[in-house]
């Protein structure tokens, strides 16, 4: 948006009249039609579009659910059963919403690890990346509060355990928790306010998404080589190339989504959540939704209440510092032979933590969680800073074009040092 001027020229007299008053068509044209997209993007770059689709899907299904749902502790569980049994297609809307949350997280995790692999968090995209971390935190808060709404056993005990995390704060912890609950335990006031916030937060996410896309359109997209667009030959226009590819990816993702909704709609849920909330009995084995499991494993790995809570929140907050912890000048892991191995170890550790989070906190599971937790933090605090100094990256291609088409014979090669980017120091 900033570097390339709009090529948009309104065709009709009305178009010109309107554009001179609200230049929105020009904005759309420069952002989503003429916008230059690196020609070598893979399908990993379609997850942004998939995420936008999932956000819209959650909002639309959620607005309809809210028409039939009752946010009252005495009626919430019944009203969800009413949605499932009586409301026309209520089962479909609810299953789309409940599984949609999981699909949203599958997409966001792929999107995040894509960004870790290709170094998209590095200069000049730090703000863009941090906005992404904020979106992720808002998504977690939204999904957590949504899961409380059906007011089943998992809803109730999940809410109890997670809100109690704040009781670990010294001195004021207990007061904060009473303010979160609006009482002395999780109860009707808690459900009411969670419903209000569950409705609000997705629209805040939508706002941050707009900032995220805005920040993206300043430096433009990263790409598998990590080197920037240097000439028109490195890029293709957003429309039709990215538009059609994104739509295709969204449709494929919809098929995947539909498989869960129509064949295994309760696979990712917990049977205990079909038992109404009972404050006198905790289910024998409480686990959060799958997308929280790695963080839950970190919480339980630390045998101290406050320490566990700090470790869990740090595990996410440390992402914010990644652009500065990674000292390598090379963005894409494709050109970082050593880091590539550490990257996959890190992915394996995250998956393992997720699995450990689903196991009971006993015996060797605890020890394994502790080892993985130490490694998780070591990845950020030791591997990322040190590798930048000791690793010898592979030679980078001269241009995106060259990486796709091979070195052009007879063409003017890039002079040495042309890869240097003055704006991405540090």
């Amino acid at each position: 948006m900033s570097q390339h001027s709009t090529t948009y020229v309104p065709k009709s007299a009305f178009g010109r009249w309107f554009e001179s008053r609200l230049p929105i068509a020009g904005l759309v044209h420069s952002s989503f039609v003429a916008f230059p997209v690196p020609r070598n993007l893979t399908y990993f770059w379609t997850f942004g579009a998939i995420l936008v689709f999932m956000l819209v899907s959650q909002i639309v299904t959620g607005v309809f659910l809210a028409m039939y749902y009752t946010p009252n502790a005495a009626m919430a569980f019944q009203s969800v059963e009413h949605i499932m049994r009586d409301v026309n297609y209520g089962w479909l809307i609810r299953y789309l919403h409940a599984n949609g949350a999981s699909m949203f997280f599958i997409a966001v995790y792929i999107h995040i690890f894509r960004n870790f692999y290709y170094g998209s968090y590095k200069a000049p995209r730090e703000v863009l990346y941090i906005l992404g971390v904020i979106i992720f935190i808002l998504m977690m808060a939204t999904a957590f509060m949504g899961y409380v709404l059906p007011w089943g056993q998992m809803s109730f005990w999940g809410a109890t355990v997670i809100t109690n995390l704040f009781s670990a704060i010294p001195v004021v912890g207990e007061t904060i928790v009473h303010y979160l609950w609006g009482g002395y335990s999780v109860g009707n006031p808690t459900l009411n306010r969670f419903f209000s916030l569950h409705y609000l937060l997705p629209f805040m996410i939508a706002g941050v998404v707009i900032l995220h896309i805005w920040a993206l359109h300043v430096p433009g997209q990263n790409n598998p080589t990590g080197i920037p667009i240097k000439s028109g030959k490195d890029a293709v226009p957003f429309t039709p190339y990215a538009t059609i590819k994104d739509i295709f990816a969204v449709v494929v993702f919809m098929i995947f989504f539909a498989y869960w909704v129509f064949y295994i709609p309760n696979y990712l849920g917990h049977a205990d959540n079909y038992i109404p909330a009972n404050p006198a009995v905790t289910p024998a084995h409480i686990v959060p939704e799958w997308y929280f499991l790695p963080f839950y494993a970190i919480l339980r790995a630390i045998p101290d209440k406050l320490g566990g809570v700090i470790a869990m929140f740090s595990a996410i907050l440390i992402w914010v510092f990644m652009p500065w912890l990674d000292t390598s000048k090379v963005r894409s892991t494709a050109y970082r032979p050593l880091y590539k191995q550490f990257f996959w170890v890190f992915v394996a550790v995250c998956v393992l933590l997720g699995w450990l989070g689903s196991r009971p906190a006993e015996g060797w599971y605890v020890i394994a969680s502790q080892i993985c937790t130490v490694y998780y933090f070591a990845h950020f605090l030791i591997v990322l800073p040190v590798l930048g100094f000791v690793e010898r990256p592979l030679p980078l291609p001269n241009s995106i074009l060259e990486s796709v088409m091979g070195v052009q014979k007879g063409g003017a090669g890039m002079p040495a040092g042309a890869n240097a980017e003055p704006q991405s120091k540090g």
């Binding site: 109890t160 303010y179 609006g182 009482g183 002395y184 109860g187 006198a280 409480i286 630390i302 209440k305």
Partner: protein, 182 residues
């Protein structure tokens, strides 16, 4: 600010007005936030629901744990056996994470009645009775262990199960939510 209004380096009357206006706006804004934050606190009805409750102890057999609610909180009333009382008393208090003698956790002469809050002091799950290494409680959520006095003996829970305010009206009747005045 000073440069744009005047060339004297000394603060002017206008600077003072700017700062005073800004300060008034900040105080006003903060004051307006207060009622909204306060509205989140437990409301009057929730507090009023904390009226004391009476519990008849006669049907509670030795070894039994009864669950009741007061102020929305779960409370265990445990009728301890002689063996459980002895186990609770024969402990090196100094070795505990949250050191407290059993005698400080029951009413004088009522050793058989243990009254404690029923939510784990870790993250609030309901521990299972007559379970765990000390046969007191075991919390399935993250593995906290409590003894027959409700004191934490293992796992991530930082403190003992707290004691709610209560008193004996008679030998067989408890009132929870009210300490004896005498």
């Amino acid at each position: 600010m000073a440069e744009t209004t005047t060339h004297v380096a000394e603060p002017t009357r206008r600077d003072f007005l700017y700062i005073a206006t800004g300060a008034a706006a900040a105080v006003g804004g903060a004051t307006l936030v207060w009622p909204f934050i306060q509205s989140l606190a437990p409301d009057a009805a929730t507090k009023a629901a904390g009226a004391p409750v009476e519990v008849d102890l006669t049907p509670i057999a030795e070894g039994q744990i009864v669950k009741i609610f007061w102020r929305g909180n779960l409370i265990f009333i445990r009728h301890r056996s002689a063996q459980e009382i002895k186990a609770a008393q024969d402990v090196n208090v100094a070795s505990l994470r949250d050191p407290q003698a059993d005698s400080e956790r029951v009413k004088n002469g009522k050793d058989q009645w243990l009254v404690v809050y029923g939510n784990c002091t870790h993250l609030g799950c309901v521990p299972l009775g007559n379970a765990g290494e000390y046969n007191g409680w075991f919390c399935p959520c993250h593995g906290s262990v409590f003894d027959t006095s409700g004191r934490v003996r293992g796992g991530p829970a930082p403190i003992n199960l707290p004691i709610p305010p209560y008193s004996f009206v008679s030998d067989t009747k408890l009132i929870i939510g009210q300490e004896a005045t005498a």
